[in-house]
Symmetry: C2
Subunit: 139 residues, 2 copies
Amino acid sequence: MREKGELKFIGVVEVADQEEAKVRIFTEFCDALKGIVSFSHVIILYWFHLRDNEKERSVLQVVPRRHTKNVKVGVFACRSPSRPNPIGVCVVKLVKVEGCTLTVKGLDAFEFSPIIDVKPYTPRGDAVPNAYTPEWLSH
Amino acid sequence: MREKGELKFIGVVEVADQEEAKVRIFTEFCDALKGIVSFSHVIILYWFHLRDNEKERSVLQVVPRRHTKNVKVGVFACRSPSRPNPIGVCVVKLVKVEGCTLTVKGLDAFEFSPIIDVKPYTPRGDAVPNAYTPEWLSH
């Protein structure tokens, strides 16, 4: 098996704001947005560009921010941006689509974060309201 | 801005089965699973390796499978595996963790699909039960 994959960045976070972020999709990928306006929510995959270096990508365990005790958890068991592949996944509300720019609510990304993908949010597969999480996350 | 990112494959789908799939995380990344057993659901990011070629990665619009009419939608408005970055995102139930292998329910990936990331599912940010979707998806 090949060991690596190559990503093309398809857009960029132009305005980072929890209430109203702006994601600009590059012109060459803009046709891929057709029909997106019919969804209330989308999943944004973005690149933690500030963590894209060997040191941060070698981190396998961290003390999560919300943890009250000094206990390390694996990066696959938390949403740490330090991880082998610095990809963030964020469910956002789609507020507006203007040309190639999406205005969204709830995006937890920094300005200039490259965008990797946009996917429609479908409750049938994506929503698990009664999923449980460990106690440290509920603080 | 750089235009590309590099992914390391961190595991592989060893058994592809909607009811009970097996995802093996490579030994070197296995420590990153610590604590994952406390979550009922996880998000698996995987690579649509069969679509990782220029032709499939240039597709911007498709006729979605469930669509009753012959209408194209953008790949960012559906979950087509043909897309600029062939990444699948799937919410699965975590059935069992044995060593570096996760047994999961609901994984929509093929055998030998490389794994890119595993993230815990947290209803607070990931569950939007009342999200709406276009009519073509409800057929």
